[in-house]
Amino acid sequence: MHFAEALPLQSGAALADYTLVYETYGTLNAERSNAVLVCHALNASHHVAGMYEGDPKSAGWWDNMVGPGKALDTDRFFVIGVNNLGSCFGSTGPMHLNPATGQPYGAAFPVVTVEDWVAAQARLADALGIEQFAAVMGGSLGGMQALAWSIMFPARVRHCVVIASTPRLSAQNIAFNDVARQAILSDPDFHCGDFYAHGVVPRNGLRVARMVGHITYLSDDDMAEKFGRKLRNASANQDYKFDFGIDFEIESYLRYQGDKFSEYFDANTYLLITKALDYFDPARAFEGDLTRALANTQAAFCVVSFTTDWRFSPECSREIVQALVCNRRRVTYAEIDAPHGHDAFLLEDARYMNLVRAYFGRIWDETTGKEQA
């Protein structure tokens, strides 16, 4: 969907006009009361669920969560996935033409924040005629957007589902993000962000950025179990290779992930999204007091964390819960004992899925006016 009205950004800059690509699943009811917005994280898109015709490899990034009969049941809810500004999956981003210059934006694409994304999503909701969402939901960076929705548009969110997220990044989180950014910025093929004109892609920088990021999504135990110190293509006598190629399985795995990522992801997008992560801190305007930052929220919340997630640890989620409790907001909080680190929010886990299913069951009962037992 194209928006001709300029979008003012938190940085003071503005996007003159822009396009948001989105997908919807299910049917909007006559009262327009069953809409759920699903916000995406770093490397995902508007393609939340389902498959494209004739492409069995195209399952949406949250296909295990969203679909007919699933935890977020599209037979009941009208689900919207929207690609954020600055992304590389269709919505206006740094690879698109800057109307002011006729050249790709590149480095000139303005830095966007979580709040800017939410403001853009709200315009999409307006255009779709959705006054209030039954729920806004997201994991990780998507959870930040859900939280921002509840703060920026309190009356437009009945339920806010925040999974494996945090009210702010820690110094360690920011440090990892900056290492990733430096990998991209120092790649000679980056050309200060204008690599499109040079017909190259800063592939090495993107690979290293993804490798660093990927380490933080897995837990130590998970890595130990999956890879341990297993050697890759070990010689007959199980010896080391004594060079700087691939010895260990984990090296092979990370390089494969990095290679794959560098083929489809945009370097400028990676910079923009990690910056949006770093900047998110709704308590900042309230001297660090998250309770005050959440004082105007009206939604009921469902907060979920995973015990082995050291990137956005349960402590981060508990901080959100504590601030909500202080404000006497309705809140459900689950701490799922899953072994997969931050990535757990995308994976199948019966306790996790059942909890989310139960919560959406409750939203459904509310939406349809049914009392709980």
Partner: protein, 213 residues
Amino acid sequence: MNFEDLSSLRPDLAFIAHWVPEAAHVLDVGCGDGAMLRYLQSGKRCSGYGIEIADDKLLESSRRGINVIQHDMEKGLALFGDNSFDTVLCLSSLQMMKHVEHLLRDIVRVGAEAIVSFPNFAYWPHRVALLKGRMPVSKTLPYQWYDTPNVRCATIYDFEELADECGLEVLERVALAEGKPVQFLPNLRGSLAVFRLRKKKLNGGHDASSLIT
């Protein structure tokens, strides 16, 4: 959930529900399947939260539509501010705690009043079992000694002593058998002990418990 449902499901909870004021802000520590909070919400217009550690109970509570927070009570109630609730419930959970005293102090810190219940170890069938040389196994203590989650065994008299030490005033004390109060020889004939407590007020109006901790 209405009162009749609660009475038939859990008569002890139905009795205790009378002690919770209308529209109170309630914390239910160890809320289990959430039946009590559900009734307090729908039947007495109460608000508040349940705390539960077990995944299956959390799910049941969530299905009931109550606000449930997964948390290990053993780690205390630091999540909640002082006096943030009208009533704190801790029903048939305290006996499973390793840090009973710490939790009890925390319960009265966060709430104006507390209602605490636990299986009365001095209930006469338990005494008979011990006289026969065996650990008691009953409806309120349905476990064998080697698999019981109840790590603390207390009688009504024992708990009174601890409450006093923690600077708590006993507002009401009832022993229940089959969900009904026992008037005569409660420490012998009651299987479930229920206490309504609050911080003792000193002359200056300070909370006694805050001076002790």
